[in-house]
């Protein structure tokens, strides 16, 4: 699914990723943890092609093709989805319109016909129910006036509608209470179908009680310094990151 080798990236002239390697197979859930400033969010932004996040070395293959050569929207259509840490508010653009344009773009790319307005609205309403968002949110401006939890659920709803192959959750759990976290996790878990892969970037082990990863990686100083299974997350919770940042990992 995704093969990252020796990835270097800089943000505003500052080297953030310094030789990151990761291999993700279809159906796997990889958690990426690490202290603040380790480059966790940079990884998601580089993979989705955010302007200002420049890959300066290494390679990223996604489903066999060179991901770094694609524009942001092409990556999305190919099946990359980034759930934002801070979803953007866009007043004046209705959630429904935005979602329809996005879903149609994806379908067109896959050679499928666009959905009619009626078909789409039905689908959108069903999907909003799955993340416990009232259908009235579809009519509102994108994320406009949404609470923190509503924004994150809106991200998951977009993910469900776009059916990506690789979902990157960028600190989706930060700022959520347990109930909201449960809804988000249920949504994510419902999308685990053995083929779709996930990168779950988080600062807190708590999320991994709900979304149980296959692998846990620790990112520090722009590299993966330790990898393991879900037990590693518990160890990190107990011991902190200090023992890894100083040692050889």
């Amino acid at each position: 699914m995704l093969s990252i080798k020796g990835l270097h990236a800089k943000v505003e002239e500052k080297d953030i990723l310094q030789g990151l390697d990761i291999e993700i197979n279809p159906g796997e859930v990889h958690a990426i943890m690490g202290p603040n400033g380790s480059g966790k969010s940079t990884l998601g932004n580089v993979l989705s092609g955010r302007p200002g996040y420049e890959a300066t070395g290494g390679s990223v293959l996604f489903k066999g093709q060179d991901l770094l050569e694609l524009d942001t929207e092409e990556r999305a259509r190919e099946g990359i989805f980034l759930a934002f840490q801070y979803p953007v508010e866009i007043p004046g653009v209705s959630n429904m319109e935005f979602l329809k344009v996005a879903v149609d773009a994806k379908r067109k790319h896959a050679g499928l016909p666009e959905l009619s307005a009626v078909e789409f609205m039905k689908l959108a309403r069903e999907t909003s129910k799955r993340v416990d968002l009232d259908a009235s949110f579809l009519k509102r401006g994108v994320n406009e006036g949404f609470s923190g939890g509503e924004k994150k659920r809106n991200e998951i709803m977009q993910m469900m509608l776009l059916e990506p192959d690789l979902c990157i959750l960028d600190e989706t759990d930060s700022g959520l209470d347990i109930d909201a976290l449960q809804v988000v996790a249920d949504g994510v878990n419902s999308m685990r179908d053995g083929k779709r892969s996930f990168i779950v970037v988080t600062h807190y082990q708590r999320l991994l009680d709900y979304i149980v990863p296959d692998y846990v990686h620790v990112l520090a100083g722009g590299r993966i310094v330790k990898s393991g299974t879900k037990e590693l997350a518990l160890e990190l919770e107990a011991k902190g990151y200090g023992w890894l940042e100083n040692g050889e990992g």
Partner: protein, 437 residues
Amino acid sequence: MSDFQQQALTLAAEQQSPEWLTALRARGTDVWSTAKWPTRKTEAWKYTSLNPLQTDTPAQWASVDDCAWQQAIDPIALDATRLVFINGHFSREHSSELPAGVVRFSEADASQQALIRQHLGTVANTGEHLFVALSDAWATDGILLHVPRGARLEKPVYILNVATPEAQPAVSSQRVLVVLEDNSEAELIEHYVSGSEKQNLFVNSHTEVVVGNNAQIQHYRINLEQEDLLHVGGVHIDLHRDARFLGFTLAQGSRLKRIDYHVNHRGEGAHLGLNGVYLPRNKQLIDYHTNVEHRVPNCTTDEVFRGIIGDSAKAVFNGRIHIHQDAQKTLAELSNKNLLTSPTAEINTKPELEIYADDVRCAHGATIAQLDETSVFYLQSRGVTRADAVRMLSFGFINELLNEVPEQAIQDYLRPRLTTLFGESPQGDELGQMRYE
């Protein structure tokens, strides 16, 4: 006297006008011919040059052309009393039967003439706007909308002003007078439009509105004209006790478009609500000047203007609110937001609050921004192309004001036309439909 001032007087002399308008014409002529021609040093015209009138001075009245326009122009699908003017000439053929209270000046009976003489030229102030003097000097015909005490105009009045190309630069004039007696209600839509062919018309158009005690008007002024047309005009409003003026205006096109709103709060409890949108592109220039005079206590003003300026276009917004010493307990808000979509686009915005009363609540603000790149990226990260993202974000910037337009037919008319300004929508109509769901 400048060339255009001189030429305008010659054109006035060619007109046939009713005897009962002679005094108004003479007064206008007097002000017009003695006025100093505005230059860039004249504060009200600081950013808006009148040079196009001097370099290509129109020397004739526009002609009657009553067939060609129909292929090029769709009227707004309103259930309304429609009056069609082509290059300033009334077209009976394309207009509705006029109900009682809606009459052309040229067909006014004695009592209507008296009403026109009582009000025409009293709301619009030649001292505030030189082109009101020109409108007075050119006064021959016009439309009177009169709603008697306690009555409600059954249907909206829709004045469709169509411009068609002329062989030589030409002028046209439009004048509307609305008199709403106490407790009456009306809706008026003024729509200025042309085909997409190159236009060489200069339009001078002024509307005066007298809103009596506890009366209400819903007013629209929609200017969608091809970009070579020149248009100067204004809406001049007197609000009496508890009167309400609810307005929406939109402007697109013209290399010189200047529209003024002058509002007088003359009676306590009066309310002005005015939303405006301007969308100049290419080398167009759109200038809105609004001036609200709070002369008495307990009145409210809520004014919101938004502009998107693209290419090498230029916009001017000057919003003045003047709160006189006696106007205690005034509530006034003015907001102006601008979006520049090109590095060569220009906006000159100046909100002006002048407050001489000490117990008022007023807020004003102006912002200028470029498209938010984080929002563009957010949309792109969902597979939306950059072009679509820019179109959606630009439209979104004004969509909030369109959503507030009470007349659904006007929303339906504007949406597809405005969406295409920001690039072709892949499925424009369908999306337009979805916004109403």
